[in-house]
Symmetry: C2
């Protein structure tokens, strides 16, 4: 009897729902508009209706074990509530878990979306073969999650994995968190666009300047394309990006000596542009990485820095995984 669970990825814009079975097969995926500004009641209505429809199909063959709901922001795990979410401000203080449990009549696990992405990559993605890993999701900012012994490591307040706010520069640009010089100011889509704007303003980036006014969307992917086409200024932007990411990873690797760091999120598709500088910085900065490098007399059993494999679905796999483990017996 192929039991299954539901993974949900709830963002400010999209609401995505997947049914996943115990073997990690994604049985079905539904994408809805979240329209989060409507407030939690209506969003959760849509979510639960869609889950009911999906379940109706698969309940003939197997048992529905429960759902995992991934939300960007700070989650109060004990209360099953959103403490703070920039993308879902109306959800703060609303009893999210209790409401969804009531409507589904099933167990629900609420967690941060990056934590679920970490667990998803661990289960069915790049981290399949390792025990301890972390993910860094490169998007507007940098999200993060840690999986130790196949379980999400939450820390004291459920806030472990805020890698985007590791300081990497004393006097860097201000960050939304109140600090400045945070890693996500250097290795995110926002950082790429800041560097591009600076290069254009400096009058030394004709190709970037042209792309910015071309009418086509000017974003991190556009800068990546220019970089791969050989534009030196675009390449320099992703070299800086890669160095910053390597600097961040060196600190994390020296601190944690994990089996693997997975690099995910939308901007990870620019891997070819930033990875060489990232690895160079990491090799220079991490004695743990260096000490285990077979090319330098190490054992060869060294931390792997891998590109994520599940793309935007990582969080769905991870969210669906928790009920399977917790309730699957």
């Amino acid at each position: 009897m192929p039991d299954f669970s539901i993974g949900v990825d709830l963002g400010g814009t999209n609401l995505r729902i997947a049914a996943v079975n115990r073997e990690g097969q994604l049985l079905e995926k539904v994408t809805l508009e979240a329209n989060a500004a409507r407030g939690p009641d209506l969003v959760i209505d849509d979510m639960c209706n869609a889950i009911h429809r999906v379940n109706a199909q698969y309940r003939r063959d197997g048992k529905f074990l429960g759902a995992g709901i991934g939300i960007p922001g700070i989650i109060d795990l004990d209360a099953g509530m959103v403490r703070k979410s920039a993308n879902l401000p109306t959800f703060s203080g609303y009893p999210v878990r209790a409401e969804i449990e009531r409507r589904l009549g099933a167990r629900v696990y609420l967690d941060n979306d990056a934590n679920f992405a970490a667990l998803g990559e661990k289960w069915m993605g790049a981290g399949r073969s390792v025990a301890n890993m972390a993910i860094l999701t490169l998007g507007t900012g940098i999200g993060g999650g840690i999986v130790l012994n196949e379980k999400i490591f939450h820390g004291m307040n459920g806030m472990a994995g805020e890698f985007g706010h590791v300081p990497i520069d004393w006097d860097g640009p201000p960050c939304g968190c109140g600090s400045h010089g945070c890693a996500e100011q250097y290795a995110s889509a926002t950082a790429v666009m800041r560097l591009a704007r600076e290069a254009i303003a400096g009058g030394r980036a004709p190709a970037l300047a042209k792309a910015a006014v071309s009418g086509a969307e000017f974003n991190a992917a556009a800068v990546f394309k220019l970089s791969m086409a050989g534009d030196e200024q675009a390449q320099e932007i992703y070299r800086k990006f890669g160095r910053a990411l390597g600097f961040l990873l060196a600190g994390l690797l020296n601190s944690l000596n994990l089996d693997m760091f997975v690099i995910g999120g939308g901007v990870s598709s620019a891997w070819d542009a930033f990875a060489p500088a990232m690895f160079e910085e990491l090799r220079t900065r991490s004695l743990v990485y260096a000490a285990t490098d077979p090319a330098r007399g190490g054992t060869g059993k060294m931390t792997i820095i891998a590109k994520a494999e599940l793309g935007g679905d990582a969080g769905l796999y991870g969210a669906a995984r928790v009920p399977l483990v917790m309730l699957g017996g």
Copy 2:
């Protein structure tokens, strides 16, 4: 029957041995000269003879369960060998664990000294009441260890906790690890002395200059004394130290959201001189610390930054703890 175990702290200079019982009582402590340059055979002879003498006393009342041996450096946990130790270079490649086990006829656990210090503070020191914590030992460099769920977290190669080599500055002083700008170049005894020398060379630190030629030992403790006596230059040195430590802790706290970070090692006795700047930097730089601060609307359940309580004995407690847990039933 009060069973007991032996904890050993083996450094380049001192060899310290303690008998500890299950309740965490330190029954006896022996300090010998290590004379590590003699090579491992003679050092281990002395160690095992001393352990035999201690055991003879306590064996009447209880069972000797085994020994933990803490060594500064990179330990191969599987092999029970020292991979690399700046203070004990002659130990590299020597079968340390097997030799001690043979001579004692008991189980022996080899580990990094800072890992044992973390476990010791967890068991009987500052971390008694928490589940997940890390220690930063401030000495010549910065050592570190992580304890999760009451067990040492080793990482992939036993090298987790190298907090001293987290990079905190892009263009800082070179570090023995091959990188530059590592945290221990800013918050260690070595860093205090570098800053003191720089201040003296700049001609703007008369009190430090006087102390340096006074005949009394001029070290981090001497700079601390001047700081507490009101010397502005000495105070500035420890303010820089505190800011660097706060910067490092902010990254670790945002990454791990542990229950507690314990600050130990010889230079932690300068706490009063560096702690104010450390906390100021941490509050500015860590959104996790800020988000949980009751003074800023947080829950009040926030990471504790605590001074170590066991001093130089932390490693002895931790080393003795492992046989008690692993073999004590």
